[in-house]
Amino acid sequence: MTTPSDAIDERGFSPRYRRLGRRRIYASLGTALALCCAAIAAGALLVILFYVAVQGIGAINWAFLTQLPHPVGVPGGGVGNGILGMLIIIGLATAMAVPLGLLTGIYLALFGRGAIPEALRFLSDVLSGVPSIAIGLFAYAVLVAPLKHFSGFSASFAFMMLMLPLLVRTSEQAIRSVPQTVREGALALGMSNFRATMFIVLPTARPAIITALLLAIARVTGETAPLLFTAFGSQFWETSPNNPMAVLALQVFNYAISPYPNWQQQAWGGALLLIVAVFVLSLGARFMLRRAMRGLDA
């Protein structure tokens, strides 16, 4: 069908194709712009990583990873107790946050209609927006002030509050993303709702849930603000969560604002360790996510 506007012009192009040429220019401009933005974002990240690595790599050695901090003026020493404290506090926080977050997520995914679930979702969104220092303050008010001493447990409590909203919403999403046909298939065999959820739906959602968990752990690994008035810090190998504990991020903070070059150097080393930890957790999360995607199509 030929209409006048389709007529071929003197250069042998129909107007329709001239318009196409202009579109192609716009498209290239858009692509170039997007590429620039991506380069800036990725570049900034790479610069940070590179800078921290250069500054921190010199501080990292076996003693740094395994020894107690030395007093000011005594060279050497390490952040071994901070690494231990971090593992204990995050471990405790995870042990509390996982059952709570997962069960809430299951509840929202399966019975997610009505006022109570909506309120839960809203509260969880609000909680995820609360500044971490406010959550630390809350932990201080309920667990430190009444007991009259700082403790590793109060830090775990604060971390749990930080992890919870992430776990609730992502595990709800993960369970929802399991095709309804899989759940119906289980129920159609006469399985109870509980069994269908625990043995069929949850395992199908597992990689996505583990991804969420790793991201939640990565989120609190670098948190420092809530530790200031909960874990507080310690110069010793502290293993009891009932006492003040050393935590790596807290040591980085204290060392970085100190006037001593030796400590500042160690602050960079600690920062590098934190970045590496988060990097590994994120890589793990990506790996699990890929498994989750593979499990669900097909």
């Binding site: 209609r113 095709p179 046909t181 899989v182 119906e184 298939g185 289980a186 129920l187 159609a188 065999l189 006469g190 399985m191 109870s192 069994r195 069929i200 395992p203 199908t204 597992r206 499990g295 669900l296 097909a298």
Partner: protein, 261 residues
């Protein structure tokens, strides 16, 4: 419309209506299904045949704001009576879905015996699985990879696995919701053969929008059509041979001769 008469039929619906919220998707259907025969539910898209099927094992009520009026009699007992446990009903009325839905995290073996839970020991598990997989004509293809993931099977094999899974629960009725809709013609032919052979043991109700398929595999055919309000009505039930050659309702004739739908 033939009224549901209970002369020993295993499954029957009496004045059954199904709703999604305010929307009446199936209206006042009464039908009795012949024992150990294949009944095909045919009709154009949106005529409520899948919804009707999902009322027979109480899966319909899992949908949002879904509810049912009227009764469904399984061996004379109304499955919608207050005290009836839907889980018990679903053990007696198995279902095969439109798209193969094997459990992605279970092995082929564990998929097959999923209905038995963890109560079986290893040897018993294998026996049950072999019998079910044989009756689903899948045993020879999977016997060497029972521990493998079901996702590595082809679509047709996955659907036969789902049939094996339903059969392993030893139901009395087998509901099939367009079991070949997502399969190629060759895989479909295998499933059709399977339906015919399973009819010796089970009362089968199969939804299909493929009239040739209904004509090939079923003993009885029920024709449904949505009325002007979008409510699915049962128009005619008869022996398949008669319904496709001498339908008694003009709308049935229009449909099977391809005048609409």
């Amino acid at each position: 419309m033939s009224a549901a008469t209970l002369n020993g039929e295993l499954l029957a619906a009496n004045d059954l209506s199904a709703y999604y919220g305010e929307r009446k998707a199936v209206g006042n259907v009464s039908i009795a299904f012949r024992r150990e025969a294949v009944t095909a539910l045919i009709g154009p898209s949106g005529c409520g045949k899948t919804t009707l099927l999902r009322c027979f094992n109480r899966i319909h009520e899992l949908s949002f704001e879904a509810r049912v009026e009227g009764s469904v009699l399984l061996d004379g007992q109304d499955i919608y009576d207050g005290g009836v446990d839907p889980m018990a009903i679903r053990r007696r009325v198995g279902m095969v879905f439109q798209r193969p839905n094997p459990f992605p995290t279970l092995s082929i073996l564990d998929n097959t015996v999923a209905s038995a839970g963890r109560s079986l020991n290893r040897r018993r598990k294998l026996e049950v699985a072999e019998r079910a997989l044989r009756s689903a004509a899948l045993w020879d293809e999977v016997k060497d990879k029972l521990k493998a993931s079901p996702l590595r099977l082809s679509g047709g094999q996955q659907q036969r696995l789902c049939i094996a899974r339903a059969v392993a629960a030893e139901p009395e009725v087998l509901l099939m919701d367009e079991p070949t809709a997502s399969l190629d013609p060759i895989a479909s032919a295998v499933i059709e053969e399977l339906m015919a052979s399973l009819a010796d043991q089970f009362t089968i109700v199969a939804v299909t929008h493929n009239m040739q398929q209904a004509a090939r595999v079923s003993d009885v055919t029920a024709f449904m059509l949505a009325d002007e309000t979008g409510t699915g009505r049962l128009i005619e039930v008869d022996d398949t041979a008669k319904l496709f050659t001498k339908p008694s309702d003009r709308r049935t004739e229009d449909y099977i001769t391809g005048r609409f739908g």
